[in-house]
Symmetry: C2
């Protein structure tokens, strides 16, 4: 088994934090995204989508969606449970995980990739070139502001995002908040619940992953 990773990218960080919480070590290969290594023939033969993370199983099969990679490790190493503990709890954790990814993580990516000078003509990851859409960057920033408010409301009186324990939904939210900070979208002062939660989850050893 082998994990293709890039230390500076937010998407593979989701997997790294998940593994750190599980206490699992997987042989890892760094793919230098800034240097364009994802576009080499060698890496295209590993993942034609030119993205990391990629998890390669011992039989050679590979998966590249963060949610799928985390699911594999949850099933293979159930403790500590990071995706819920019974049918309803697991569904609620999946609900928050997926909602934050869809509403917020991809919105930060929209804001970043459609405005960064280094990504002109590369508004989407993957093998195809798409022009930046400035209006989409702007919309991404507006959505993140809304997301901070929503998540702050959710965290009022709660220790964690989805369940009464730390889960993959907290990982998703943490990586999203930190990704937003990289494009100068900080959690507003008034979002005291979100700020308190962010301080708590950032203090876990896994946050260094």
């Amino acid at each position: 088994m082998k994990l293709y990773d890039y230390q500076l990218a937010p998407n593979p960080r989701r997997v790294r934090i998940f593994l750190a919480e599980k206490g699992i070590t997987v042989p890892t290969v760094q793919v230098d995204l800034r240097g364009g290594e994802q576009f080499t023939p060698e890496f295209r033969s590993i993942n034609p989508e030119c993205t990391v993370p990629v998890l390669e199983f011992d039989d050679g099969r590979r998966i590249a969606e963060v949610i799928a990679i985390c699911l594999y490790f949850e099933l293979a190493h159930p403790e500590p449970a990071l995706m819920g503990v019974n049918a309803q709890d697991r569904a609620i954790v999946a609900d928050w995980h997926h909602r934050i990814e869809r509403q917020a993580f991809w919105a930060v990516a929209d804001a970043f990739r459609n405005s960064a000078p280094g990504l002109v003509g590369r508004a989407l990851p993957g093998p195809d070139d798409y022009e930046q859409i400035p209006a989409l960057a702007e919309r991404g920033r507006a959505r993140i502001a809304r997301f901070f408010e929503m998540l702050d409301g959710r965290l009022a009186g709660r220790q964690f995002v989805a369940s009464d324990r730390y889960t993959i939904a907290d990982i998703m939210a943490l990586v999203t908040v930190n990704f937003a900070a990289r494009i100068n979208l900080a959690v507003p002062e008034g979002c005291s619940h979100l700020r308190r939660w962010h301080e708590t989850v950032s203090a876990r050893p896994s946050a260094a992953a």
Copy 2:
């Protein structure tokens, strides 16, 4: 338990097909999205995101992400398995399911919502108004053309998208292909594997859901 649904919308259709394959019947409430029922105070108190589907548990808690709703029914009613049968198989099914949603289903939604005359000022579902971005509609159409090619390649010599049996990844792909057809993006004649697969899965009784 109660499912909020709208018969004409593609996202709740994913849940309906999933339930039909399982042979599960859930009490259902139709929410008239075309009539704007999702914006009434009554429905906002059920789902502030103003979307369907919504699954309401008997304890009053609710989830609104399709993946989470399907996961609940998979765990509560394991047979027939629609999300894979062991750790690796389940991860591979999740990989395809999530990839098709992200790369294709949301791309069709981009193409549709950013161009439909009836959705001016409503480019995203949810409580907030966002202006249409014509360039995003165009990008969505380009991405779908790429997706058809990719999925056609995947289906060469395969009966189903992700596994050796029908899974939630086939449901995701079916709903996406049919959603694309509604905005005149038909599977090209040359995509013979995809066309053969589409004919097969469309013939299942669940496709009428």
